[in-house]
Homo-oligomer: 112 residues x 2
DNA sequence: GGGCCGACCATAGGATGGCTATGGATAGGA
DNA sequence: TCCTATCCATAGCCATCCTATGGTCGGCCC
């Protein structure tokens, strides 16, 4: 309500989703769980961020989806990477590293 | 024009500015130059991002400003950290590290 | 059966924070 | 004189994330 403190670093959600899907198909809810668990609860993916993001990614052709039943017998929309999506993971991962490195250089200037 | 690919990681601009000012007062243009130079041109701070950001930070009481002359005899608005701003740098730096660490755990899962 | 909880999808609406584009002033060098 | 670099600033757009809301359904418990 008061301070809008993002749960995730803006601009990294797509990468987190794509990377998760690179481990195999998952439904939306499962993707969010996975990210939250691997990050030790630091990153929480709100549903209001997640589903629009999934639609974005599908529109761009990086993932595709279809209804299936979960092991617990519930209907769920499963997502998986497309071929271009697989390439995209690598690209975004490199970009991320590059930018974080750059930020670190500003935050921790080495000696002249 | 086509793809809106942010020059900086959204959400990190404030930290970059504050950190730069922690080295001493600077004018806006100088702040942008400093960030761009230290990052080896990876991070480019557009003026349309910079000045609104500076206004934000001043509104929040983390920086204060005043007109001065540059060594090259030009008028410029110099910014410097306030006391709370100085504290804020540390807070944001820790937050940043924490989140980046969390993202890395998702991007590079260690063995179970 | 009835109720609850957790799993699951989805969207509207708002806030934020970036960017592009534009406009302007002036110092100093060619 | 003109140009370039330095310097400030704002409007308006756009993408992304959040809050809030609403809904379905499976399975457990009593």
């Amino acid at each position: 309500m008061a301070r809008t403190k993002s749960d995730i670093l803006p601009g990294t959600l797509d990468l987190l989703i794509l990377k998760t899907l690179s481990l195999g198909p998952r439904h939306g809810y499962g993707i969010a769980q996975h990210i939250q668990r691997l990050s030790d609860d630091v990153l929480k993916v709100e549903e209001g961020s997640l589903y629009p993001a999934l639609q974005r990614l599908e529109l761009r052709g990086w993932i595709k989806s279809g209804w299936r039943l979960t092991p617990t017998n519930r209907r769920a929309r499963y997502y998986e990477l497309t071929r271009t999506g697989t390439r995209q993971v690598g690209t975004e991962e490199r970009d991320f590293d590059r930018v974080v490195e750059a930020i670190r250089r500003v935050l921790t200037p080495r000696e002249a």
